[in-house]
Symmetry: C2
Subunit: 224 residues, 2 copies
């Protein structure tokens, strides 16, 4: 008998930005078959100029509903076959972007097709292996954080996740969108060997250790 | 119709240290009914001087097996009733301590009754809401970390967890055991208003922000 471990890399960040009136980005986590099928349908609907598609829907809210409905349809087709083998396919999606006449928006769409959106009180959303990287976001990000600082914080959040769960790894794809620009002005793909990634990772590690060493010691005298 | 939120506090850290040849500590997470039942049985077996109990088992490995077996028995009794209502009761346990003639040991016991133990390569174990607090442990702790430094790190780890999941909260119970002492020399219970907890929380928050601000900016010029 032979065995193997399949470690593969798949794109998880997709942009739909050929129109001058909108920028739409989609980030996927979980079931690869559902994610790929979804992106396929979204692209096909644009190409065939379907009644509802990413390029004609009037608002980001409508786009979120359209994507949620599409996820539901895709699941309907596979569900009986997956359930028969007790396969529980988790997946979730981040939808971000801006359509002319609206503010930029950020939605998290669940596998069930329902969704929530970010708000000033909770200005970030995460999908996938989210918990390891949440503490730094909780401590740094507010609605007022400049976008470039937020991007750096997101990168350190992913780096913490990679450190605590080795199945999460590079390349890291980053996109940054500036309000009312209607184009993805900043895009980056960081491989494991990327000098900046190595630099910020090592600097963060050192800084955290220094910060930790400065913390006041526990005073055990006030014992129980 | 009326509603309420039930926020309760229960002890989750138990020590069994009346014997001069051993110190045994148990930390519980998850299903309160199983946890409380377990502690009850452990105490009863000591009191009735059962064939196997925490005070007569010859090694920490045997103690882990005994606790695992007890968890299995307790679950057997409740399982049909819980399954009938689709209640999935997760629980897990940390067993730490030392029995004379052995090195100190640390075990994690799963709800299924099987268990693992910490080793030099992975010198810490966590139960419960573990992910938020893991990054700082991953970055600070090694097998060589002095015990008092490790305790401080554990405290900051729990603090990160409390920050990212508000359903986790004080009091925090800390125990520190020094090898070959055969007594719990250090014990602490920190309430939310505890001055040290407030001080270290605020100092950590400030240090993290300062460290973050020193991180090099993303260089977007090397765009895709």
């Amino acid at each position: 008998m032979r065995g193997w471990i399949d470690v593969s890399t798949y794109p998880k960040l997709f942009k739909f930005s050929d129109q001058s009136d909108r920028v739409i980005c989609l980030c996927t986590a979980g079931s690869l078959s559902i994610s790929q099928a979804l992106v396929n349908v979204l692209q096909r609907d644009i190409k065939t100029e379907a009644t509802f598609n990413l390029y004609n829907l009037p608002s980001l809210y409508d786009v979120a509903r359209y994507i949620g409905d599409t996820i539901r349809q895709l699941q309907e087709r596979d569900r009986p076959w997956l359930e028969r083998d007790n396969i529980d396919f988790q997946c979730s999606f981040l939808l971000g972007g801006q359509i002319q006449g609206e503010e930029p928006g950020l939605y998290m769409i669940y596998r069930q097709g329902n969704f929530i959106h970010a708000c000033p009180e909770t200005p970030f959303l995460q999908i996938g292996e989210a918990k390891y990287g949440k503490p730094i976001l909780d401590r740094i990000l507010t609605f007022e954080t400049p976008i470039a600082v937020a991007a750096k914080c997101a990168l350190l959040s992913i780096d913490s996740t990679m450190k605590s769960n080795v199945s999460v790894g590079p390349p890291i794809n980053l996109m940054m969108y500036e309000q009312d620009s209607f184009e993805i002005g900043y895009e980056l793909r960081l491989e494991r060997s990327d000098p900046y990634l190595r630099e910020i990772r090592s600097a963060w590690e050192i800084s955290l250790n220094e910060a930790f060493n400065r913390m006041p010691d526990i005073d055990w005298r006030q014992a129980l």
